[in-house]
């Protein structure tokens, strides 16, 4: 028979292997994996040099005769 864990908080329960515990454990594992992936992604992104952003201005088409 499936044990769904304590119905009220005051009742002691071993709770090992019960359905809510499995869900919480899975949720924690997923949370941990997402956290680690985020950390690795952030580190990988921080390895980039940041580039040379244009601080002002823009692009203008070059035109004859000088193309300057």
């Amino acid at each position: 028979m499936l044990h769904l864990g304590p119905i009220c908080p005051g009742i002691a329960c071993t709770g090992v292997g019960t359905l809510p515990d499995v869900k919480v454990k899975t949720f924690r594992r997923v949370l941990f994996a997402v956290g680690v992936a985020g950390l690795v992604g952030a580190l990988a992104k921080l390895r980039g040099k940041g580039g040379v952003p244009p601080t002002s201005g823009g692009w203008r088409e070059l035109e004859a005769p000088g193309f300057r």
């Binding site: 980039g48 040379v52 244009p54 201005g57 692009w59 070059l62 004859a64 300057r68």
Partner: protein, 328 residues
């Protein structure tokens, strides 16, 4: 009567064929591809001046050819270029793989035979080299050149980009080649609508720029990443069809340090095909001043920037200058 032979009819070759057949002075365009039916299909759409022939890399060049244009995959063009040199016919190649470029630059026979071979005649290397030359001409002395490209023209182009990005790149630094280890992506700004793209250092066509600018202390090449690596960030230009290139040249103008940034946005295959066609036409003396400098060279060493850019603009490939204050 000028007869041009175009070898390789992929994404770039097809555009080059359309440009060549419309070039004044080119009376006959011979098309060769390993897929003969594809060559015949293109021939039928180009009109009477085009003709498909059976020719493969390594075959002796047919008689009566005035110029050869190669739009082949990395390294495949070497045999065609060797054949052209043996026949004394000028040749242009669009190959952008750095090992293939090294092999082409090592062909000593071209100078001895009095044959001009133009290599790296695509978007980058190619047009971006011309832009670098144009920018350097606007300065008293060029101290650093950074070029970058985003976009790819077809399966062969994507394969080359991936190979280059996964290799260990080298850049020219202080008059010597320096291996760049653990180079992360760098945000490079191209003209709109491409905008900012993550690029990484590759070897690419740096050797062509080093030969063209022997006194420049630092030369580096960067390239963007093909689409399959970023499935969650779909933006305009991510499929590579639309490409962009940028040449940033730092140097001295009088007593002050200055920078000139030129760029271009165009369909990658269209830009590369147009550059290849214009170069091949000039090698044959069509559509402008003949390019005649025996040996193997990149476009920064071969062409006068202003007339070349004017011809590209006339054909719809337009360039731009960045007016602003980029930070080094």
């Amino acid at each position: 009567m000028t007869t041009a032979l175009l070898v390789g009819i992929g994404a770039v070759g097809e555009r080059a064929a359309r440009q060549l057949v419309e070039t004044e002075g080119v009376e006959k365009l011979l098309l060769a591809d390993r897929d003969r039916k594809r060559a015949q299909r293109l021939t039928s759409s180009l009109g009477e001046r085009a003709e498909s022939i059976g020719f493969a890399p390594g075959d002796p060049l047919p008689a009566g050819i005035d110029v050869v244009a190669c739009a082949l995959g990395a390294g495949v063009d070497l045999a065609v270029v060797e054949g052209a040199i043996a026949a004394g016919v000028p040749c242009a190649s669009v190959d952008d793989d750095h090992e293939a470029l090294d092999a082409l630059l090592a062909l000593r026979g071209a100078a001895a035979a009095g044959v001009t071979v133009a290599v790296g005649c695509g978007l980058a290397p190619g047009l971006v080299d011309v832009l670098a030359r144009h920018a350097a001409d606007g300065l008293d002395a060029a101290e650093e050149i950074r070029v970058a490209r985003s976009g790819w023209a077809g399966p062969a182009s994507v394969a080359t980009v991936r190979r280059e990005r996964h290799g260990t790149p080298s850049e020219w630094d202080g008059g010597a080649w320096r291996t760049v280890r653990q180079a992360g992506d760098e945000l490079v700004w191209f003209p709109d609508p491409i905008g900012g793209r993550d690029c990484t250092v590759i070897t690419g066509g740096a050797a062509l720029l080093v030969r063209a600018f022997p006194d420049t202390g630092r030369i580096s090449v960067r390239r963007g990443e093909p689409e399959s690596h970023r499935p969650f960030r779909r933006r305009f230009g991510d499929d590579g069809e639309w490409g962009a290139a940028r040449a940033e040249v730092w140097g001295r103008r009088g007593a002050t340090r200055d920078v000139i940034v030129y760029g271009v946005v165009e369909r990658t295959a269209v830009a590369a095909g147009t550059v290849l066609a214009v170069t091949a036409a000039r090698l044959a003396g069509c559509g402008g001043e003949r390019i005649d400098r025996p040996g193997v060279h990149g476009l920064a060493s071969l062409v006068a920037p202003v007339p070349f850019l004017a011809e590209l603009a006339r054909r719809g490939v337009r360039t731009a200058v960045f007016e602003g204050a980029p930070i080094a």
